[in-house]
């Protein structure tokens, strides 16, 4: 039987596909930086899209880093929600649903380039959708969708004054079935406990848009292996798996 050990996870990383992500957020740069920071698991969560996940998965094969395919979805309430998965198919199915409900076209001058790349960092295409926009699905619908594809649903940066569960809805709805709440690098775990008294587990990730931000904030999990199943157990504090605060 495998023993439990500590895994360092930064599960909220943007790539050059996000209009607000730097162009230097290429798959190779992201992986190299993660290795430097001794991160075991990376979550790739671009705004309303997962088109750079294949490149990240390909390049990660030769490095000691596990990639969780993901997306950061904007709900109709303008709340950012992370959806994290253990396989590419699931995130692509979710992406299809999101695209179906995402109106508008990107204005590159106003919002930035949305670059889809291969594992060498070569430009494959520019995503024409308004990825910075909100899709016309409610918070609850998005959480249900993520769960229907067997993913983890985490509310992004709840301490921020924009696009967060708390800025948009005032407080954490008591009936919400999220797997965790993310806090940003600008607040500590204990500050967040005091401020939000959450009934859900707290995690901290970097929300990196530039390479140097990767690992600025992370969460340590005591788990057996770098899998979504193990992370889920840790979030629920089950079978000895847990978050190390």
């Amino acid at each position: 039987m495998k023993v439990l050990r500590t895994f360092k996870a930064d599960l909220h990383i943007h790539t050059c596909l996000s209009p607000c992500g730097e162009l230097s957020m290429s798959p190779r740069n992201i992986i190299l930086r993660a290795v430097e920071e001794k991160i075991d698991i990376l979550g790739i969560c671009d705004h309303n899209s997962a088109e750079n996940v294949p490149a990240l998965l390909a390049i990660a094969k030769t490095y000691p880093v596990t990639i969780f395919p993901g997306m950061e979805i904007t709900s109709q309430e303008e709340i950012h929600i992370l959806g994290l998965f253990d396989n590419l198919e699931a995130v692509l199915q979710l992406q299809e649903e999101v695209y179906h409900h995402l109106p508008g076209e990107n204005d590159e001058e106003a919002f930035g380039l949305q670059v889809v790349v291969n594992e060498q960092g070569e430009v494959l295409r520019f995503n024409p959708r308004l990825l910075i926009g909100a899709c016309n699905l409610s918070l609850n619908q998005i959480v249900d969708l993520i769960h229907s594809f067997k993913g983890l649903a985490i509310a992004s940066h709840i301490d921020r004054e924009s696009f967060s569960l708390i800025s948009q809805l005032g407080f954490i709805p008591s009936d919400i079935i999220l797997d965790a709440l993310e806090i940003s690098p600008s607040i500590s775990y204990y500050q967040a406990l005091n401020r939000f008294a959450p009934h859900l587990p707290l995690v901290s990730f970097s929300d990196a848009h530039r390479p140097e931000e990767i690992g600025q904030s992370f969460t340590r999990f005591l788990i057996q292996e770098a899998s979504l199943t193990e992370i889920r157990l840790a979030l629920r504090n089950q079978q000895g798996r847990r978050i190390i605060h």
């Binding site: 309430e77 800025s167 809805l169």
Partner: protein
């Protein structure tokens, strides 16, 4: 001015709280950030928003607001209707934008004179 008079003046559709319309409305507050409403809205004012999540009912009760106008022809979620019903909170709908509703309410209440 009573809520009843405002409903007539702005041609609002009453979804819930129909027996709670004699409240005196002193002011309005327009915002889509519930955290901002919790911090800044005053009691007895009418809240104009396009948010439809059930949390709007709790915020309105917490701040003792006269009611909520949901704009742009948006429809409140089922849970929101239920909760507003339970709380007897006036939930009102308008097909107009937040700008139009706010401007007209501002005039109706005789503000800026």
């Amino acid at each position: 001015m009573t809520l009843q008079e405002i409903i007539k003046g702005l041609n609002l559709e009453v979804i819930t709280g129909g027996d709670n319309l004699n409240l005196e409305v002193k002011d309005g507050y327009t915002s889509d950030l519930l955290s901002d409403v919790m911090a800044n809205a005053q009691p007895a004012c009418l809240w104009i928003t396009l948010q439809t999540h059930v949390n709007i009912v709790a915020v309105a009760k917490l701040k003792d607001l006269a009611g909520i106008i949901i704009v742009n022809g948006r429809q409140p979620d089922k849970e929101t209707r239920q909760k507003a019903q339970e709380e007897n909170l006036p939930l009102l709908l308008s097909k107009e934008t937040a700008f139009q509703v706010s401007g007209r309410l501002y005039q109706l209440l005789g503000k800026g004179k």
